[in-house]
Symmetry: C2
């Protein structure tokens, strides 16, 4: 490793150390912090963020990047460098430009608007009154436009924001993928609507928290999630957080009358954690910007893969269902494997994204993608959002939200300034299926091994093809390298068609 | 508040904010952190400590203190300042001199010696082999002498170190108090030895963790510990930690065959937390160095007061024992209030300080005080420590440690560089009794109110007389202001004599 790279690693590690400390404070805030502590905790976190920003914009980083030939036009730097060094420079250049291009006042304004916006959103959602949220959202959209103008002057604002979460993607490329996806999902939903509905009451019987905790503990073991480097806690809104290179924690929630919800939440978050814990781009790069995820969609591909492709499959449950039924106790008494599999795979369009099934989920995301892009371009005014939302819900899912709480006020993202983030959720499903197909082709008979209670080979494949490289590959590069082709939504739609044809007798 | 003071508050708050963040990281490390995370966590904490030190030695603090007339000789500064401003300057001057007088290399050396020393101590204690710990302790004693020489050139090293924990005290003043205390404790112990021993097997029956947790929850409520600003968790070695001005958390442990241990640990730590949560020296001083404890001994007076003067009293239990017995279940079945009170107040000299009763506890501390003072002055060599320890144990408690693990290797303090800290433990008991007597004189009939299940008046008295002023009073000033006299060990010894005369029929 060159001296300049070594120095960059040193500077970069300080920023990451601060980020990990911020994550400890944030994790504690969501799990165990006493309520009155919130005032000082917000200051503590803001202080660390300010310090991390200060370190991230250090002119020394800019000079070192420049000395190694990395620029906005040629982020990879000098061609004589090692490939991993070049990938590292690209990641650092992205981060450095992002951090230095935003004026301090705009950063502060965005942070304040996010904080006030979330508070206003909580109130507005509780009262199901969009008018209370409208001024905050108007301010936020305007600030997001300013942010995009600073980060990518002359570029389409939505392209700039989307690129923050999905490097290498833009509205047109995502729009093309979503347009194909939308037609497939709509047609599949139509056909399912014509068939008798399955009965999911068997996974909605009361199951006490202690039993649900035991199920989650067991599932973490089945997925080989290393509790020496992580842990599970319960929260209102589950998440995964990286508090250190050997400290990736997951959270879940145990609803007394929906134990399957907590169980899949655990598998979903464990999938995120397995990704983070498997990142190892190369010696010398631990705890650097290279040891981070490739993109939000690749992250989501890993959570969805374990939650859905593994966790809702008959291969996974055929050898494990007996144990689950034991742990669940009376909740699953007298329920057979087939009935259980049907219940956890029920398809039924609903108003709320986070409760959506595998088929309708993508349509929820497409709706948000189209609306946020229209808000950013100005073709949709904030005041028109509730009407536009409801119209799209009818168009895509044939449902009419009875109020804004179950309509355009259901997600926190926009209030927090997360524009361009939603597509990652749907892209994650697409990446997951494409990776899965590549794995099946490379590892013949793997499904039988998963059935035989061994997921180690699957995890090893994901480690080597997806996890290890961290941020060294852009998402597009990663999927090409791992599967041999660019992103193709056909893998996902074929998976859905085959699975639900069997389940619904289509 | 003057402009200069306002600026000092601003600078000071930054240091406190960093300290509180460090406390979050430390608390998490002891409670929930996954084991493999320790490597990076140690770096995270060291980073925050380094940053806090950097901020604490800012020359701007020195200039502002100087501009306000505060110096080593006249720490209170300009006489025209408000009393609270002067008290604040005194606290800041102490901290600033302490932080600036130690050379950076010595700070690093001390930190390394503490870390290596603790590791060596853990090993040596496990093997009960003092020889393994001896080199580390020799190094630590020598470093402590260097530290004392930097902080108080020309002064007796032990005086300098003691003053870090008990400002305004020195070896001679503490020695005089301990000499009176020693004679009284020895004589009381002698008389108790001549009487039939009480039976404490009734508090050693198995009690499951869930029941012990319920007992602790209930006791926190009885002591009016605000769970909106704190919480209880379980650890191997209980402690209290301040993670924010509205975030003071306690910990306890639940031993299956000694439920009383966890119960008193909870009351002890809750006493520490009530102190921290009650500090409010004046408007504008929240989250500053003035909003800290007066001294370690005053801190210990509050934990001991709630643990012993309240928690082992018949007044407290007479109206509450029925509820305790309900919560304890089979563990206290058929055990009456009188038998319970005798059991929790059994006096029996033992080898281990942390398991000592109220009477012999002080003798354990006196032993350490005499030995650490001799180690610092050089009149005792580290190599001679085990022999000196065992000789003093025979002299003070008439016990012969069978090995060093139960002798001079039992405490972590010296390995961590905490010389001059032990006296606080015994002084705390003395302060507690003296404060208690003053309270009884001021609040006639208070014991009946505590019996009637109301500890609010006691807490209010402690808040106004002890807690609120924070670090504005030195411990000597605080006890004089609250009780009208300087520290007088007679309050404690009279309390012990009266209590144990009744219990043991002396």
């Amino acid at each position: 490793m060159r001296k300049e790279i070594e120095r960059l690693v040193e500077l970069d590690r300080e920023v990451k150390l601060l980020a990990h400390m911020g994550a400890v404070l944030g994790w504690d805030q969501e799990t165990y912090m006493p309520p009155m502590a919130i005032g000082e905790r917000a200051e503590q976190i803001a202080y660390l963020e300010g310090l991390a920003h200060e370190k991230a914009v250090s002119p020394e980083i800019g000079s070192l990047l420049g000395a190694l030939g990395s620029s906005a036009e040629n982020p990879l730097g000098d061609p004589s460098l090692e490939p991993l060094e070049r990938a590292y420079l690209r990641v650092l250049r992205r981060a450095y430009d992002r951090e230095t291009k935003l004026p301090g006042e705009l950063v502060t304004e965005l942070a304040r608007a996010a904080s006030l916006g979330q508070a206003a959103w909580v109130e507005a959602r509780a009262a199901s009154d969009f008018a209370r949220f409208r001024p905050s959202l108007e301010r936020m959209v305007s600030l997001q436009r300013s942010k995009a103008a600073c980060l990518g002057p002359g570029r389409k604002p939505y392209d700039v924001l989307l690129d923050l979460y999905e490097p290498g993607n833009d509205e047109a490329s995502v729009g093309a993928v979503f347009s194909a996806l939308r037609a497939e999902l709509a047609s599949l939903l139509d056909r399912i609507r014509g068939r008798p509905q399955v009965d999911d009451s068997v996974v909605k019987r009361p199951c006490p928290e202690g039993r649900q905790a035991a199920i989650s503990e067991w599932l973490m073991g089945e997925l080989a999630y290393d509790r020496g480097r992580g842990r599970l806690d319960t929260v209102a809104h589950p998440f995964t957080s990286t508090l250190g290179s050997d400290d990736v924690r997951i959270t879940t929630r145990f609803l007394p009358e929906a134990f399957a919800s907590g169980m899949f939440s655990t598998m979903h978050e464990a999938g995120h954690a397995l990704y983070e814990l498997g990142i190892a781009p190369g010696p010398g790069y631990s705890r650097t910007s290279l040891s981070e995820a490739s993109s939000m969609a690749i992250h989501e591909s890993q959570s969805r893969l374990w939650e859905n492709l593994v966790g809702r499959s008959s291969a996974f449950w055929s050898s494990r269902y007996t144990r689950l039924a034991e742990l669940a106790g009376p909740a699953l008494e007298g329920v057979g494997l087939e009935a259980f599999l049907r219940a956890i795979n029920k398809v039924e369009p609903s108003l709320i994204r986070v409760e959506a099934d595998e088929v309708s989920y993508g349509l929820h995301v497409i709706l948000r993608f189209e609306l946020e892009s229209a808000l950013l371009s100005g073709s949709l005014q904030v005041a028109e959002l509730p009407g536009a939302w409801n119209a799209k819900m009818r168009e895509l899912l044939d449902l009419a939200p009875p109020d804004d709480a179950r309509g355009c006020l259901q997600d926190v993202h926009w209030s927090a300034g997360l524009f361009g983030y939603f597509p990652s959720y749907a892209l994650g499903n697409l990446y997951a299926s494409q990776l899965w197909d590549a794995m099946l082709a490379e590892l013949p008979g793997i499904e039988a091994r998963i059935e035989g209670a061994d997921t180690a080979e699957l995890l090893a494949w994901l480690r080597s093809k997806v996890h290890a490289s961290g941020a060294a590959c852009l998402p597009g590069e990663l999927v090409e390298r791992a599967t041999g082709s660019p992103l193709d939504p056909g893998h996902f739609t074929r998976y859905l068609r085959a699975k639900y044809a069997a389940l619904y007798g289509l």
